[in-house]
Structure formats: C-alpha cells, structure tokens
Subunit: 333 residues, 2 copies
C-alpha cells in the first residue's frame, strides 16, 4: 500500500504539472504530427490449406457506375438498394480483383493474372496493382512456374503481358481451360459474337493469347488435377469454358471460384441477378446456385476473385439467396 | 481473320510441343517452387475519416479455451454453437487486438497500446506484434505525440512500456479517462476487489501506470474533445471508467468502441452474453445495447479493438441482437 500511496501522490504531481502547462498548450515533448501516409498497406495475405500455402495478391478495385444495364433483370434502384443494405456507396459498383499464388511445395502457381501492368497508369492506380503487391509479398514474378487461367476475360488474362508486351512470368507454363480456349479462338464463334462487348473480348484474346504466351500455353480439362493439389471444375455460364479450381491438401479445401459470382455483396446475396458480363446468364445462374448450395452444405471456404480482399469467405444460405461471412484475418499463418 | 488463323495454327503447334514433352514432365522453363513464406503480411490498414487519416495496427490475436466460465450466462455448448455459426474453430476463442493511430494533421495519436513488446516472446508471436506492424506502416514510435487510453486492462495499457520497462512512446502525452484512473488508483477499491482477476489488474495498473508513464499522464473527461476531432464518450460496464471515442471530420465519423463488445462473432451477435471480463456485466450489456442501437440507427462505422483486423464494420440489427458487416478492404485510400 505504501507503493500505491507514493504512486498516487506522483499522479497528483503529474496532473498539477500538466495543469500548469495548461491553457491547451502542448507539453514540451509533444511534436507536430507526421504528414499523412496517404498510401494503402500492401495488399497480400497468406493462409494454409493443409500443407499448401496460398498468398492472395490484390490487383486493386475498379469503380463502375450503376446503370439500368448493369444487372439485366433488376432496376438501377434495386441494385442501389442492395448496395445500401451492404453499406456500400450508392450508384457505384466497386469491383475488386484478387489473383492468388499457390505454393504446393512442388509448384509455384498463379491463378489468374489481374488487369495487367498497363492498367496501373490507365486507372490512376485503382487497378494494375498486382506486380507491386506480388513484390511486397516477396514473390519474384520469374519464380512463378505455372499460371492457371480460369477464363478469357481481360481482368484474368491481361496480366500475362507487361506494359511493353513482354511476358510477365517468363518462366511459367500457362494452363488454360480447353473449352474456354476452343471457344475464344474459334473464328465462326467470333463472327457470331452477340454484342460489341463480346466481339471486343475476342479481339483482346487475339491480342493477349498470341506470340510468346501461345508458345507456353497448354490446355487442361475439367475434373482433373491441373497441378498436384489443384483440381479443375467446370463452372460454365459466365463464359462458355469458365472453370473453377479446388485446392485440397489433407482434410483442408478451398474452392477458388473465379467468377461464379462477381462481388458477393450484390451477387451472392442476389444469386438470381444477371450481371451484364455473364455470357450465358441463365446457365451462369444455374452454376451459381449449384456451387453455392454445395459451399453452404459442405461449409467449404470460397476464394472469390471479385470478393473484397483478402477475398476468402464462408457461405450461409438465406431465405432469398446466400450470404458471405468473410474469414477473420489471422495475424499468423 | 488471317491473323486469327495464323494464331490458331501456332496454338496447335504449341500444344503439340507440350504433348511431346508430355507424360507429366515439366517443360524446360519450369523450376522448383519457392520455399513457403510462412509469414503473414504486415497487419496495418489505412482509411480516411474526412481529412483525418486512421491507420489500424494489429497487435495479433490471442487464443483462449472456451470453458463454462467464459460466458457467465451461457454454457460452453452455446458458445461453441455460436462459434460454429460464425465458421470459427470450436473450443477456441480467437481474440484479436487492434490499436489505431489517428493522424489529425495536428496530432499523431495512438488509441490504446496492445499487449506490449514483452508479449511477443511470451506468446510465441501470436500477440505483441504492434511495434513490428507500426514500423511496417512507416510510423516512428517516437513521433507519436499522444496516447489515448480507453481503459486500464493490460491489453490496452501494457504497450506503454517496452520489454525493458522503458517508455514505448517517449514523446507522447498519455491521456486517460478520469473515472478509470480514479477507480484503479483507489486503495479502498483495490482492497474490495471482487475476484483474483480484478485484484491482479489493480497490481498490473500499479506496475504500468507509474514512474515515467505517470509523469506524462493527464486525465480527460467524457463528452469533451480529447484532441481536436476526437471526442470521448462514457461507455461504462466493461470497466468502471471504460471510455469510447468518436473520430469526426466534416460529415464523416467513426465510433472507436474499445471493448463495448469483445469479438463481434460472439458478442455483437449475442449482446446479452456476459463475458467473464466485463467488470459490471449488467451495466456493460446496457451500454452495449445503447451503443449498438445507435450504430445501427445512424449507420455509423465502428472500429472495434477486438474485431478481426482491420476491425472496421457497419452494424445491422437482427431479431436476436446485431450483426457486423466488415467494411470492404479498399486497395486505395
């Protein structure tokens, strides 16, 4: 108690000193505040699936105005109401991009590439962040030995090329879904493109899937291991050959869904909504419901390319659809 | 079409080459995978509240076994059922610690300190991560000019001292809630401590709130600005003088709740549960319901010391309590 008494007396003395300094004057040891950092933390996050190490690397997020054409079977007002329910800014769809690196111990594989180095400048830093975040994660692009592509949309393949059109991953084999490759390299399909957006995508595929990329390219089939520990699953609709991947090791699994849904706060909660970028919306919805029923029933983690970083969640079924529960960030792996 | 044809032919050639390499053999450019990184990303995250910049700095997370004594008015089985609903590991309560740095432009203030440098070794790196993550965020501990304390539990004050008992923030004024300081430095309150845990906390306060800390200490009152832009709000129950803080700039606000709830996946969803560490559980519950009704009604962001990093969420009211919706990680600030 003597100790406590002495301490209390000291406390009183300290407060008297402070009061004497008083009148809002800063004490002598106070300094002017630092300049704002004005830069976000590097966007990478690691977790294990059994003995496999996954590193999520964000490429940034795009901002898209919400129009009546954004969801084909829902009005702008309904979409904005859903954004409000999710506490997101109304009128703007913020769409994140999250490629992942899978270290199996035998392979260092990247699943999807993000929007590409050139996008960084074009978007004023909103997207095209992948290479900076990959470097922050201590991963050398030259060490990536496998790139696994889910489908041939630009935000998944454009990162195969750097801004100068050289290979981003010069030592990587590029594994692509056979059905997806067949569709987007088929001349008669190209001539039948239903919309300008699809025609433009054919052109972008021509641009990216060519030259050195093509030399390193190999197609893979669904229901088989793409690399040991990573199995391809056919999830068509978003594109004709759209493919997801199950990473498994021991008893652990994660479902790497690519674009089975886009951002969850709209399209997991409203699985019946047809986003403008789904190639075959009815098939996409059927795939979505089948996958999400399975995720909810099996309590399987999902890694969503367009989920907010770090883009890992569990799924629960609701009266009207599904709901994502982001996995709690673990400060250790 | 000529371009496409040539490209298709090249694709064919590439696949033939791959087939020839076949039999599962790696192509010549493939390499052995890198060693696993086995380390988590630095745990810091930035966002703005009007012109104020906040940096959340994680101190790590503690793992506590779930016993019948963990929640006073719920059985272990009920707690484990709630953990299962939140897709958390059963039998283990993972409790994160997330101090924040507030850069107002005039002040560089830290709200709560985490478990302290000594905890890093003692916990084998699970906690005590604050200083490493602060450095990763580019913030010099010597540049912190103000430390604002919410209450006198060890995970909020122990970080005032380094492992060698020197000051962690030697240039900071230490601002503490007057009611909290009065309670924990009152000898007769100490003699009446109802449990060993509370008696131990009195001793820990004696250890930490002494010497050089006491010389830099000043008390503050509720309902007043602690520093410009940061207003103290009395939220008693968790401890007698437990205090929260509202950070406001322009039209933007965030409610920095300290321990109004502990981890949301249990105590936001079950606001009636009395955790063993609430000093006055009935008062703590009343405070919790009042604050969370307000957060839901005003759609105000909450920064929760014990929320999973980065520990920012919105709150919705449910039939049985509340639910937290983590704010989507923004790759830019």
């Amino acid at each position: 108690m003597i100790e406590l008494t002495r301490r209390s007396a000291l406390a009183g003395a300290a407060m008297t000193t402070m009061a004497a300094a008083g009148g809002g004057l800063a004490p002598e040891w106070a300094r002017a505040a630092a300049a704002p950092a004005a830069a976000q933390a590097p966007g990478f996050y690691r977790y294990k699936v059994g003995s496999i190490e996954i590193t999520v690397i964000t490429d940034g997020a795009n901002r898209l105005p919400v129009t009546d054409e954004f969801v084909l079977n829902a009005k702008k007002e309904e979409v904005n109401a859903a954004l409000a329910e999710a506490f997101m800014e109304p009128g703007v769809f913020v769409g994140p991009y999250n490629p992942i690196v899978i270290n199996t111990g035998a392979k260092l594989a990247l699943v999807d590439t993000g929007t590409g180095e050139a996008a960084y400048k074009a978007s004023k830093g909103q997207t095209g962040q992948f290479l900076a975040n990959l470097a922050a994660a201590g991963i050398d692009a030259n060490a990536i030995d496998t790139v696994i592509i889910s489908h041939y949309h630009g935000d998944h393949i454009n990162g195969l090329l750097k801004a100068d059109n050289s290979l981003t991953f010069p030592n990587a084999e590029i594994l692509v879904p056979a059905a997806e490759h067949a569709y987007w390299t088929n001349e008669s399909e190209m001539s039948r493109a239903a919309t300008k957006r699809i025609a433009d995508n054919f052109k972008n595929v021509q641009r990216v899937i060519s030259g050195e990329v093509l030399k390193r390219l190999r197609t893979y089939e669904a229901d088989k291991e793409v690399i040991s520990g990573v199995t391809a699953v056919s999830t068509p609709g978003h594109t004709p050959g759209h493919t997801s991947h199950v990473v498994a090791s021991g008893n652990a699994k994660v479902y790497v869904q690519a674009d089975v849904t886009h951002a969850p706060f709209l399209f997991v909660r409203h699985p019946g909504w047809h986003a403008f970028y789904d190639h075959e919306p009815v098939q996409a919805e059927a795939t979505r419901r089948k996958v999400y029923d399975m995720l909810a029933a099996e309590r399987m983690r999902v890694q969503g390319f367009h989920y907010p970083f770090p883009a890992i969640a569990h799924i629960e079924k609701t009266a009207t659809g599904y709901r994502e529960l982001p996995v709690a960030w673990s400060p250790v792996i």
